[in-house]
């Protein structure tokens, strides 16, 4: 099936998310849609899938102009979509999810479900495309990679000829990503087309037949997969990208944060952080690397007082564990939480109010009873200028900002108090390149001012660029603490648990409970991905991990180039607003 988009334009308010976009997807090709967060990729695909209607432009399927007003229309036209946030009912079985909407039923009006037939269909389609799933497994029990497979099967069962994958690798481990690429090549061989939406340059080069680059809602170019990473990056961002963080080597000072025997349980009562000890010196950046879901979140929550824990974490001799979040803040801990939408900001509050949120009850923002609105407004205006937050004024609600500017607000709040310790979780997740450079610079400034900085990131390049030392977490334990010039291969091995304590960690690892044995992902040692978030840079060490298809991994070639993938995951809610400041 040949799919053409002609002159698609869509504006949200005054922002053109898509302007006059042309795109042709030939049968049997893997067509990559490359662009930064907020470039308009998801908007375009939602139009194609009938979830949004374009202001102008047309969709042409096999030479015939079609109009999609609902996903149903798109499905009937042979378009399937795997959403970034899966459209699966967690409490349903795989088979129930797959038949939903076009159930085979007996008994006419009664609509009696034919569950046997449903299972057969699932087994048949999954066998035909080499996508093994257990039709009776509950979706919520499956690893993210397998859930994604279910989504792909869902599209295939509806006879999709064009399959849209929206940022499919954002939630995958390196091994699962490789698996997915194999599946994509298999679909191509079966004559289907794949539209692969991403912002990760290495993946594009690994799998694409053709690349269309989108920037600020416009197609800015077509590229060949052989194009260099650097060239692709500047095409995507619109300028030459300097992605190396400049920092002078520095002698670290005395121990500032001392963590001893810290153990933390996750929501399910499992041991997520298992007897972790480390020291963080003044004037040092310690990066915590690891695949998402290996205890990093819980570690940070314990240190910042958000989660009860056993053990000790002393900041200049004062105990953080057991203290309330407020006390921890008062001790001078600045926290950049990993999810700004959820934990970092009150979206309906203004920038100024968000900036005063953690100290609203004390000078200069107010006292126990009253807020000093003038002080709050003034502080807002000052930070707006200092942190280059692009907004009309400090009274603009945080929700109206792009992801990068929202993150700057969160960073500004943590830094304006001149923290005695900075804890930054995923400091640049889902932000544009400009904001990322800015935030990195501010973090290094903290270090240079002699402050201890703890960085948690699933993006390996970010960790290596910022850190003085790197601690790798795997299944709740710190596998090793290594210098920042350690190669990515070595780090990748550690992230997969390949350290000295590997065997011991395997025994004790409660995290692995979540991985069913039936899981068809090749590397059984892979910890489960529980969050819906990214770990993009981790894709690099794929070929160093003993995965069956590792030899095929084409990502390694890109490694020599000093270019970092632009940004991880984009939140769909940001999509429309993000173009505003670009």
């Amino acid at each position: 099936m040949r799919l053409e988009l002609r002159g698609i334009t869509k504006t949200f308010g005054s922002v053109a998310a898509n302007s006059a976009i042309d795109l042709t997807v030939e049968p049997g090709e893997i067509h990559c849609l490359l662009g930064e967060n907020g470039a308009g990729k998801s908007t375009l695909m939602n139009i194609l899938y009938g979830l949004l209607s374009p202001d102008s432009g047309e969709i042409v399927v096999d030479g015939e102009v079609r109009e999609f007003t609902s996903p149903g229309d798109a499905i009937r036209a042979g378009i399937g979509m795997v959403h970034q946030h899966f459209m699966l009912v967690p409490v349903f079985t795989v088979a129930e999810n797959l038949v939903l909407g076009h159930e085979e039923s007996r008994g006419g009006v009664l609509g009696w479900l034919d569950r046997r037939k449903a299972r057969q269909d699932v087994v048949e389609v999954s066998a035909r495309y080499g996508l093994p799933v257990d039709p009776d497994a509950l979706v919520e029990d499956l690893p993210v990679g397998v859930q994604q497979r279910v989504e792909i099967i869902k599209a295939l069962m509806r006879d999709a000829q064009v399959l849209i994958l929206d940022e499919p690798t954002a939630v995958l481990t390196p091994q699962e990503t490789e698996e997915l690429f194999t599946v994509m090549r298999g679909l191509k061989a079966a004559g289907k087309s794949v539209v692969f939406i991403t912002h990760k340059l290495r993946e594009v080069r690994a799998v694409a037949d053709r690349i269309t680059v989108i920037r600020r809602g416009k197609v800015v170019g077509q590229a060949d997969p052989k194009t260099g990473v650097r060239e692709l990056a500047s095409l995507m961002v619109g300028r030459d990208v300097r992605l190396v963080v400049e920092k002078e080597p520095r002698e670290p000072g005395a121990v500032a944060l001392s963590v001893r025997g810290l153990s933390v349980r996750d929501d399910r009562g499992q041991l997520a952080v298992d007897d972790v000890s480390f020291d963080l010196h003044a004037g040092e950046v310690l990066g915590i690397a690891g695949v998402q879901g290996n205890g990093q979140t819980e570690l940070v929550e314990a240190i910042t007082g958000l989660r009860p824990a056993q053990g000790s974490a002393e900041l200049s001799g004062r105990q953080l564990i057991g203290a309330s979040p407020r006390t921890v803040l008062r001790m001078g801990v600045g926290h950049i939480p990993e999810d700004r939408q959820h934990d970092g900001l009150v979206p309906d509050f203004s920038i100024a109010e968000n900036l005063a949120l953690d100290e609203a009850d004390r000078a200069p923002f107010g006292n126990m009873l009253m807020l000093d609105l003038d002080a709050i407004a003034k502080n807002g205006a000052d930070r707006l200028a200092e942190f280059d937050i692009r907004a009309e004024s400090a009274q603009t609600p945080a929700a109206a900002l792009s992801g990068g500017n929202q993150q700057k607000v969160v960073v500004a709040r943590a830094l304006q108090r001149d923290p005695a310790l900075l804890v930054a979780s995923q400091p640049t997740r889902g932000v544009d390149v400009g904001a990322m450079e800015f935030i990195h610079k501010r973090i290094i400034e903290q270090r240079d001012a002699g402050k201890p900085v703890l960085i948690v990131s699933t993006e390996l390049d970010e960790i290596t660029a910022l850190s003085d030392r790197i601690a790798v977490m795997y299944r709740g334990k710190i596998v090793d603490i290594v210098p920042s010039d350690t190669s990515n291969e070595e780090l990748g091995l550690l992230m997969a648990g390949g350290g000295a304590e590997d065997a011991a960690a395997d025994e004790a690892a409660p995290v692995s409970d979540a991985v069913p044995v039936s899981d068809a992902v090749p590397s059984a040692a892979e910890p489960t991905e529980t969050a819906e978030t990214a770990e993009p840079a981790a894709a690099e060490p794929a070929d160093t991990v003993p995965a069956p298809r590792a030899a095929e991994s084409p990502v390694a070639e890109a490694e020599a180039e000093p270019v970092r993938d632009a940004t991880p995951e984009e939140a769909p809610a940001e999509e429309s607003s993000e173009t505003a400041d670009e």
């Binding site: 967690p90 939903l100 909407g101 159930e103 009664l110 479900l113 929501d267 009562g269 979140t297 989660r307």
Partner: protein, 432 residues
């Protein structure tokens, strides 16, 4: 993610925490001690008093069964000791889940039985608790709860919270009385009551789905609306002219031959108005519908993840409209039962039954059979309060009549712990 983690105590998933184990064990011991001193060793059971349980339902035909008489004090003391022992065991050892449940059930049964034995204890043998009457009264009380809860289940499974069950019961009952009286046909009245409930459901659906009004607040407002409107019409229309506007015949019993002759329970379960059988049938039907049919699969999908259902072509809003109306119809039928059971409508006659039905939805974990069981439990406590009120207990009867509400509170707060509602329950679906 992270905030959600704070809201959920990390201990929840662990086997059983010490706090929970201790509180459960202590509660059981306290129940035992109360049973021992208040019931077993109190003045009511002194002087060799014996307990008399009547086993024949006087109002209905059937074989006469002799009374069951036993010495009150030894039996109650034994039951109380069982409670204490089970509680002590719970305190002392970590028990597996199955044992914990069994223990809790036995304690509740012993305590209840001790209460019943105490209430019917009398040295002269004059006081008696008629068990089939108790059961009959339980069935009668449970029917509107089951139907109301079923209405709640159907709506909430598709993602619309139905707090307006009370209002739907009330309006259903009112219309049954009005139409049944004017047409002199109770059956037509029941149909009208059912439709009236569906109409209330439609109102809820339009305001919740179309106008996105917060559903709990909306439900409360609709209840007040139903209370006001029926109250006004009752006063202005029915009270002045009872015979033409508020007088329906009562339901006839429909005796199932054979089954109705079963010892003690036969007359209670199988010699009842048709609606009772219909209610049980509806429970089975809704259960099969929810878990075995296309409608059920879509309903549950829409209640859990409406966007997922939408992307595969399920009409989310239409399904919700239908389900909420269907739920209203169930509740309306429940209201019809209330009227047909006594023969007329009285102001605010639902008296909180809709809210107990709502509790039954949650206590029954959004499943039809769960709702049936929960409604049965609440119906039993109501019946117990009702039947023991004539026994001249030292407990004031007004206090006794709060028993169903107390039981509801304990059931919802204490016994079930956390239950998982449909994920999209109460959340309006806005496309795009």
């Amino acid at each position: 993610m992270a905030v959600a983690t704070i809201a959920t105590p990390a201990v929840l998933a662990a086997p059983e925490t010490d706090v929970r184990r201790r509180s459960a064990g202590l509660t059981q011991i306290v129940l035992g001690v109360v049973a021992l001193f208040a019931f077993g060793l109190g003045s009511r059971t002194a002087h060799g008093a014996s307990t008399t349980f009547g086993l024949t339902l006087i109002s209905k035909q059937g074989t006469k069964v002799p009374d069951w008489v036993f010495p009150a004090r030894p039996v109650i003391v034994a039951l109380a000791l069982v409670c204490v022992l089970i509680g002590a065991a719970r305190l002392a050892v970590q028990l597996p889940r199955g044992w914990r449940l069994a223990g809790t059930s036995v304690v509740l049964f012993c305590f209840t039985f001790a209460f019943m034995a105490w209430s019917a204890a009398d040295p002269k043998g004059g006081e008696r608790l008629i068990i089939p009457s108790l059961l009959n009264s339980m069935v009668v009380a449970a029917v509107p709860l089951v139907l109301g809860a079923l209405g709640g289940v159907v709506g909430e499974r598709s993602g619309v919270v139905n707090v307006a069950i009370e209002g739907q019961l009330l309006f259903g009952g009112f219309m049954t009385a009005l139409v049944g009286s004017t047409t002199h046909n109770l059956f037509i009245g029941v149909i009208a009551g059912t439709l009236a409930g569906a109409l209330m459901g439609l109102l809820l659906a339009v305001l919740a789905i179309r106008y996105l009004i917060e559903q709990v607040v909306l439900g409360v407002v609709l209840n007040l609306l139903a209370l006001g409107v029926t109250g006004f019409l009752y006063k202005s229309l029915m009270q002045t002219n009872q015979s033409s506007y508020n007088s329906v015949s009562q339901f006839d019993s429909f005796r199932i031959p054979g089954l109705a002759s079963i010892w003690v329970v036969g007359p209670v379960l199988f010699d009842q108005p048709l609606i009772i059988y219909v209610t049980v049938f509806l429970v089975v039907l809704v259960h099969l519908g929810l878990f075995r049919t296309r409608w059920g699969l879509r309903t549950r999908a829409v209640g859990e993840h409406p966007a997922a259902a939408d992307t595969v072509g399920v009409k989310v809003l239409r399904l919700r409209y239908r389900n909420v109306m269907l739920g209203g119809a169930f509740a309306g039928l429940g209201g019809a039962w209330l009227v047909g059971n006594v023969g007329n409508f009285t102001e605010a006659m639902t008296n909180g039954k809709g809210f107990i039905a709502l509790a039954a939805v949650i206590f029954g974990r959004w499943s039809p059979f769960g709702a049936l069981a929960a409604a049965g439990l609440f119906g039993f406590t109501a019946a117990l309060a009702d039947q023991t009120s004539s026994l001249q207990l030292p407990i004031p009867s007004d206090l006794l009549s709060t028993l169903p509400y107390v039981a509801t509170l304990f059931a919802v707060a204490g016994l079930i712990g956390r239950v998982r509602a449909p994920a999209a329950d109460g959340k309006p679906y806005i496309k795009g």
